[in-house]
């Protein structure tokens, strides 16, 4: 069938076993095995429709797996859904920001809802958006909005018991090189903290910056 990569003997971190996903009536991927140790990132690559986004959504628990299982430290994550939700930080394609609220209001809402540290200043600084804090999001450019979205990662990072499993779906879309570096530094800090990150990419600067700490995973092998 398929050959997994990574360290299979270790039950630390995240592992999947024969994971499959069906969208609509189409099987997106099947028999997918992956393993990721704490402190490592995984860069997902593959053509459009190969299931990168679907895999990230299955790992986050947003999509049910059509087959197989996802384990965290050797335990099936469906046994403790609340625990898994608390573990996950998910960044999707869209920016979950309300145009009529300011950048700070948007971030403060998510911080409070997730029970993160309510002090959002450091997160704003981390992505250099503190001058935009009081501007309604509708006036921000696409790249600036992306930075506000990504600042959510920093919120969790600055809190006790923040998410350990980061699932980032093309996080660098629309970012200028400076912002990509900020993102890379945030991810590297997360990894050095024994965190785990799975990132879908189309190559580029983020890949290069994370290269030393990342495994690569080609979705093409698991097309169903």
């Amino acid at each position: 069938m398929s050959i997994g990569i990574g360290n299979r003997g270790n039950v630390q971190g995240l592992t999947t076993h024969k994971l499959g996903c069906i969208r609509g009536e189409r099987a997106v991927f099947a028999g997918l095995d992956l393993a990721l140790n704490p402190g490592r990132a995984m860069l997902l690559s593959g053509p459009n429709g190969s299931g990168k986004s679907s895999l990230l959504r299955v790992l986050a628990g947003l999509l049910p797996a059509a087959g197989g299982r996802v384990d965290w430290e050797g335990t099936d994550v469906t046994e403790d859904r609340d625990g898994h939700r608390a573990r996950v930080a998910y960044i999707g394609h869209a920016d979950p920001l309300k145009p009529s609220l300011t950048a700070a209001e948007n971030l403060a809402f998510w911080a409070k809802l997730y029970g993160f540290d309510p002090d959002i200043e450091p997160a704003l600084f981390q992505f250099a958006i503190e001058p935009l804090a009081d501007v309604p999001v509708r006036y921000l450019s696409a790249g600036q909005r992306r930075r506000v979205t990504l600042a959510r990662l920093a919120l969790g990072q600055n809190s006790q018991a923040g998410p350990t499993l980061w699932l980032l779906d093309e996080p660098a879309t629309g970012l200028d090189p400076g912002a990509v570096s900020m993102l890379a530094n945030t991810i590297l800090a997360h990894l050095s903290n024994e965190g785990v990150a799975i990132i879908s990419t189309h190559g580029g600067r983020l890949d290069a910056l994370l290269n030393d700490h990342a495994d690569r995973f080609d979705m093409h092998e698991f097309a169903a």
Binding site: L62, L63, Y90, P96, K98, E105, F109, L113
Partner: protein, 221 residues
């Protein structure tokens, strides 16, 4: 509980920042109700008799208008995924959304309804029953409406579909609301109708968030 308040506050803030958007429902409510006297003629004998029913039918339609957007914004910008991943359950989210919807639409209809009662020459004995049925009935509309709003997330022609799904479900509320107002005008005791409306509200409070959560789960997949 903290999550619930947080979500309601966020929706209210969004409604206030939206400015006139929140007023659209109540403007429609008054405008549509004003059309009927032109249609049936300004006969002072007919209008009081049909007024209670018309006010309620128009209130149903006005509540429908704003329901379509209840979850749509959060669905489109990915907020719904994050709300699902947050410590707040989908049932709590559904309840918070319904409460926020009621505060931004039902309450406004409630305030506007006595004005319409005046325009329809309803006898003064019907004013309090009208407001009472509004107070008991409109939260049920928001709670049941949340189910429809969640079911039609991402559907083609969501608005028309929402009306098709919800109006049959709203009929029981309409029957007892109109019955109560008619009864009040005829001088009968309307406690039974109000009790039944209260029962509907309690049942909707217990069941609707649960059904809405099931529908939202499908929408997230």
């Amino acid at each position: 509980m903290i999550g619930l308040c947080l979500l309601i506050r966020r929706d209210l803030r969004l409604a206030f920042r939206g400015g006139t958007d929140a007023m659209m429902g109540v403007i429609f409510f008054v405008l549509a109700a004003i059309l009927f006297p032109f249609g049936v003629g300004p006969d002072a004998a007919i209008l009081p008799r049909i007024g209670g029913g018309i006010i309620w039918v128009v209130a149903l339609l006005a509540a429908l208008l704003s329901l379509e957007r209840m979850f749509a914004g959060d669905h489109e910008d990915g907020s719904l995924d994050l709300l699902y991943l947050s410590p707040v359950s989908l049932g709590q989210l559904a309840l918070a959304k319904a409460i926020a919807h009621w505060l931004t639409s039902g309450v406004l209809l409630l305030i506007a309804s006595p004005v319409l009662a005046l325009l329809y020459n309803l006898p003064s004995s019907a004013f309090l029953p009208l407001v009472a049925t509004m107070a008991l009935g409109t939260p049920t509309l928001s709670l049941v409406g949340a189910i429809g709003a969640a079911l039609t997330l991402g559907a083609r022609r969501g608005g028309v579909l929402l009306a098709l799904l919800l109006l049959p479900l709203y009929i029981p509320v309409l029957i007892f609301d109109a019955g109560a107002i008619d009864g009040a005008i005829a001088g009968r005791d309307i406690t039974p109708q109000l009790m039944i409306l209260g029962g509907f509200l309690l049942a909707a409070l217990a069941l609707a968030p649960w059904a809405t959560a099931a529908a939202l789960r499908q929408a997230i997949e």
